[in-house]
């Protein structure tokens, strides 16, 4: 693309090094903690997980670089097509996906398990960007009319994902929608309507929850009611984090994770593994890294060249920021446990590739913010 050739010689200086280094340090720390969580495991496949994650990191960085080189505006035109494909994949998952740990979230491609719900997040961001950008042409602020289509666009995949069941990711889609609508401008009465709508949906949703999902919410409210049952994860996670104290037990010395008291230790609860071993000091450092990452991404909402860049940045910041804040709050026991991993840090190829791709898009936006063509 001629765009790239003109950008080529300035590529190095325009590259978003701070964003890249923040993302890289978080994900490499993640690889290290995945190793620490599993090095004492009986199973060789668990012991080798960190290598797989490292491999995914390499693919991720390549993907990120590719996305960074491409003009972010290319995603606008085929966004609806992508959306239809992604929704199709979600339907395929429900029809014949692989079931792992009671949830039907994966599509088998050879020996690989792909999680379409992960890429759905990014595709939804693109589709909403396209719609909001178009709606902006018609009206300054978003009213009910302009919110109806994006709400439907969000609801369809969200319901499909909730059916898997994966409440966490379904929730992430709504958060993306809310953040983008909020940034793009939303009328006060529409905002109030959405909030009221949510308040109606929550109890309706409650009755449609599966028992284990209800129990998780109940367990969050009081985990000690049934320490070996529904509150077990929360309690063990809190014990792991708290027992780390100020300085931590040291790398490889966390007993809660090594002796398997922690559930999902290399995925959803990896933050607890980390917190047990490095204590408050190490946790503070990681949180600073994450907040810097989020603020760096957030900066593009205002400093991008155009609305498309700004809306993409809003969606991506909303996605990664929410993952981070929610995962930490759930491991420290202040929100219900749902399957929301810590971005870049938790084990998982699909999520890692999605996040790197998203970061690549942000880089593309940053590199092109001064151009006038």
């Amino acid at each position: 693309m001629n765009d790239n050739s003109t950008l080529g010689n300035k590529w190095f200086s325009l590259f978003d090094w701070p964003l890249f280094l923040l993302a890289l340090s978080i994900s490499l720390l993640g690889v290290f903690v995945i190793y620490s969580a599993n090095f004492a495991s009986d199973s060789p496949s668990f012991r080798g997980l960190y290598l797989k994650q490292l491999e995914w990191n390499i693919y991720g960085i390549i993907l990120m670089s590719g996305m960074a080189m491409m003009d972010y505006r290319v995603w606008e035109r085929p966004a609806y097509l992508f959306y239809i494909i992604a929704v199709g994949l979600l339907v395929a998952v429900l029809a014949g996906g692989r079931i792992i740990a009671g949830s039907q979230r994966w599509l088998g491609v050879g020996s690989l398990n792909v999680q379409p719900s992960e890429m759905m997040k990014l595709v939804l961001i693109m589709a909403l960007t396209k719609y909001f950008n178009y709606a902006r042409e018609l009206s300054e602020e978003l009213g009910f009319k302009q919110l109806f289509v994006p709400a439907i666009l969000t609801l369809i995949p969200a319901l499909l994902i909730a059916k898997q069941p994966d409440l966490g990711t379904a929730g992430v889609l709504f958060v993306i929608f809310l953040v983008m609508a909020f940034i793009n401008g939303i009328r006060k009465n529409a905002l109030i309507a959405i909030i009221i709508g949510m308040m109606v949906l929550v109890p309706v949703g409650w009755f449609n929850l599966k028992d284990y999902q209800k129990n998780r919410v109940l367990a969050m409210i009081d985990p000690s009611t049934d320490p070996l049952g529904i509150g077990y994860h929360t309690i063990q996670s809190k014990i792991a984090i708290g027992s780390g104290g100020f300085l931590g037990k040291g790398f490889f010395a966390g007993t809660q994770s090594k002796l398997n008291f922690l559930p999902e230790k290399h995925t959803d609860f990896i933050f607890a593994v980390y917190a047990e071993e490095v204590g408050f000091l190490g946790v503070f450092l990681l949180l600073i890294l994450f907040v810097s990452l989020v603020l760096r991404m957030m900066d593009l909402i205002i400093n991008s060249k155009d609305r498309i860049g700004s809306l993409l940045a809003a969606g991506i910041t909303g996605m990664i920021g929410f993952h981070f804040l929610y995962n930490v709050s759930m491991t420290i026991g202040i929100t219900p446990i749902v399957g929301i991993p810590l971005p870049l840090f938790s084990y998982g190829g699909s999520a890692l590739l999605t996040n790197y791709a998203a970061i690549g898009i942000l880089m593309s936006i940053r590199m092109r913010r001064f151009r006038h063509d």
Partner: protein, 626 residues
């Protein structure tokens, strides 16, 4: 090639600025909440949660303690803790489960199919106890083949062993698993479920002394409970050994003499209050409880009509019968209503108001002084004494003899018995005292109820000439002074003369030809004093003459009492024996007392025999005892 126009939208970005401000504020606020929560968990709650993590990780496996050994006064071992072997199998450690179990079945006998089914039903790393307390031969055989038996190990545990089985079972007691209510209560606060504690007898009373320090293995486990490695081991400690005051020989003699009879026999050292023997029949075998009560045996004991679990020596209450007469003698002498010259005439019956009270001897005893009344157990004499005293004076003296109250020797379930007073009858029966009842009380019938241990201590007071010792179950230490002041006890307030008078009367019971125990309780070379007694089971109706006891069904026959002390010159043993439904005290109970005395004073008898063998040469005759 695609061309894009970067559309700049100033209005859009103006609006975004304010919204982004709110968005950033929201993110930072949540971030702050997370940070505060993490500070709370890791810094404020850190130590608490660290402890929880440790208790997650560490499992404490208590190691049973070794209880102290129980000896008799001369060091004969009565109760000890022996090692028992349990076979423990861990399936995970067996490369070939079926093969190892098969091999095991060739070495020892057990239900292989059932065991394999049960082992498979539990987690592979969980230990399964295949057999409890296997024989030493089996243990040796397993040890020999240990290399062919991976995953099979012997677990050594202490088991209480009562060496002489049924020997003094009520006194020694038994162990049992701690009950739910006891755990964590008072003294038992550091006991756990499954611990064995003394439940009865000495084992219970001396639990704090006998128990050893419990040990513990601290083992790291993972979330599934698999044991990973030993972190620390505190070996169990051994409890304190206990030297009882019991004399094995006297106890054994009593056990043998009581064989086949129901009742109790108690011997004490009158000088120190040490219990020398305590037997209650029927008895039980405490070894049966050593590794948990076998329900069938336990039920058979509970359902036994003769209540073998009752310690009749302290729990059995019986009318004292004529043994009460030495208490009457002491009361009469002390209150001055009689003296050594007082004579009452016995013609076989005694009229009070319109009722006639009989002496056991229908033809009557004739003129009786105190010593002869004791010797021949004349009822009419003591009717007179009783009437002169009145019930409350009798009660006062009985109380001095420790009757109607627990001896407090330190065993559970002791009964107090009862000697009535007019105040007692007023209070509990809401009736005034009737003089005729005093006559029943005077000969140890009616309301009177005593335990064998009370009678042994009372007769010890007579042996001591008026001082009644406190009782004790443990041997008096070598350095402990055996003086009344140091030991504590009770003075009856009898004069020297009066005390000798009663002793003389009891001496005549055994050593005078007219005495009620002349034919049944003399011990060669030892001068014994005693008193027979018959506790009525059937209340005789007015005007009824004595019935021939041997013609009655057993359960209606009288209980036979005998109390005694020896040697008269320097009393070293005081005994009380009751044989339930044994008939006359002299016949049924006195031989038991004689056996105990002879066994306890064995050395003295042998010395006297050796001396006697020299007598013809030396030409010295045995001095008559005054």
């Amino acid at each position: 090639m695609m061309d894009f126009a970067y559309g700049s939208d100033e209005k859009y970005f103006r609006m975004v600025r304010s919204r982004l401000f709110i968005f950033t504020g929201f993110v930072l606020a949540v971030f702050l909440v997370l940070l505060i929560r993490l500070w709370y968990l890791q810094v404020i709650q850190g130590d608490n949660l660290k402890e929880l993590a440790e208790s997650n990780r560490l499992r404490q496996i208590p190691l049973p303690d070794y209880r102290g050994t129980i000896y008799d006064r001369s060091g004969v071992e009565l109760v000890s803790s022996r090692a028992s072997f349990n076979i423990v199998v861990i399936r995970e450690d067996m490369p070939d489960f079926a093969a190892v179990m098969g091999k095991l079945a060739t070495l020892i006998s057990f239900d292989k199919e059932e065991a394999m089914r049960k082992i498979k039903a539990q987690q592979p790393f969980q230990a399964y106890v295949l057999a409890h307390d296997i024989s030493r031969d089996d243990a040796a055989r397993l040890e020999e083949h240990r290399y062919e038996l991976p995953g099979v190990s012997l677990d050594v545990r202490p088991v209480r062993s009562y060496k002489y089985e049924r020997f003094s079972s009520h006194l020694l007691g038994y162990l049992g698993e701690i009950s739910k209510d006891q755990i964590g209560q008072g003294f038992y606060k550091d006991y756990r479920k499954g611990d064995f504690i003394g439940k009865y007898g000495i084992e219970r009373s001396f639990e704090p002394l006998l128990r050893g320090q419990k040990g513990v293995n601290i083992i790291e486990v993972d979330a599934t409970g698999r044991e990973l490695k030993m972190i620390k081991r505190i070996p169990p400690g051994v409890g304190t050994d206990l030297y009882l005051s019991i004399d094995y020989k006297a106890q054994l003699a009593a056990e043998q003499a009581m064989e086949g009879k129901n009742g109790a026999a108690v011997a004490i050292n009158p000088k120190t209050g040490e219990i020398l023997a305590m037997v209650s029949h029927p008895d039980f075998n405490p070894n049966e409880f050593a590794s948990g009560v076998e329900t069938e045996y336990w039920r058979s004991l509970l359902n036994d009509p003769y209540f073998p679990l009752n310690n009749r020596a302290i729990q059995g209450v019986y009318p004292p019968g004529s043994t009460f007469k030495f208490v009457m003698a002491a009361a009469g002498l002390k209150e001055g209503v009689i003296d050594e010259n007082t004579v009452f005439h016995c013609n076989g019956s005694f009229r009070l108001g319109r009722r006639v009270y009989h002496c056991w001897k229908k033809s009557g005893h004739g003129n009786m002084t105190l010593t002869h009344a004791l010797e021949q157990s004349c009822d009419v004499y003591f009717y007179n004494v009783g009437l002169r005293l009145g019930v409350d004076k009798i009660y006062d003296m009985a109380l001095k003899f420790g009757l109607s109250q627990r001896t407090g020797l330190g065993l559970d379930h002791e009964k107090a018995g009862l000697i009535p007073s007019s105040a007692w009858k007023e209070k509990y029966r809401k009736e005034a005292w009737i003089a005729g009842e005093t006559l029943s009380v005077a000969i140890g019938q009616g309301y009177d109820q005593v335990t064998p241990i009370q009678m042994a201590r009372a007769v010890a007071a007579v042996a001591n000439g008026g001082w009644m010792p406190n009782l004790r179950l443990t041997r008096l230490g070598e350095h402990e002074a055996a003086t009344p002041e140091a030991l504590g006890g009770q003075q009856l307030g009898l004069s020297q003369k009066n005390a000798s008078l009663i002793k003389e009367g009891l001496d005549m019971v055994v050593n005078s030809e007219r005495g009620t125990a002349f034919w049944t309780c003399r011990v060669p070379h030892i001068r014994v004093a005693g008193k027979t007694g018959t506790a009525q089971v059937l209340k005789m109706k007015e005007g009824e003459q004595n019935i021939d006891q041997s013609k009655l069904p057993e359960k209606y026959r009288d209980h036979a009492w005998f109390v005694a002390f020896a040697p008269v010159e320097d009393p070293q043993i005081a005994v009380a024996v009751i044989v339930e439904h044994g008939g006359h005290g002299g016949t049924a109970a006195a031989p038991v007392a004689r056996a105990m005395i002879a066994a306890h004073l064995d050395a003295m008898i042998k010395a006297a025999e050796a001396q006697k063998a020299e007598v013809p040469k030396a030409g010295v005759q045995r001095k008559p005892v005054s």
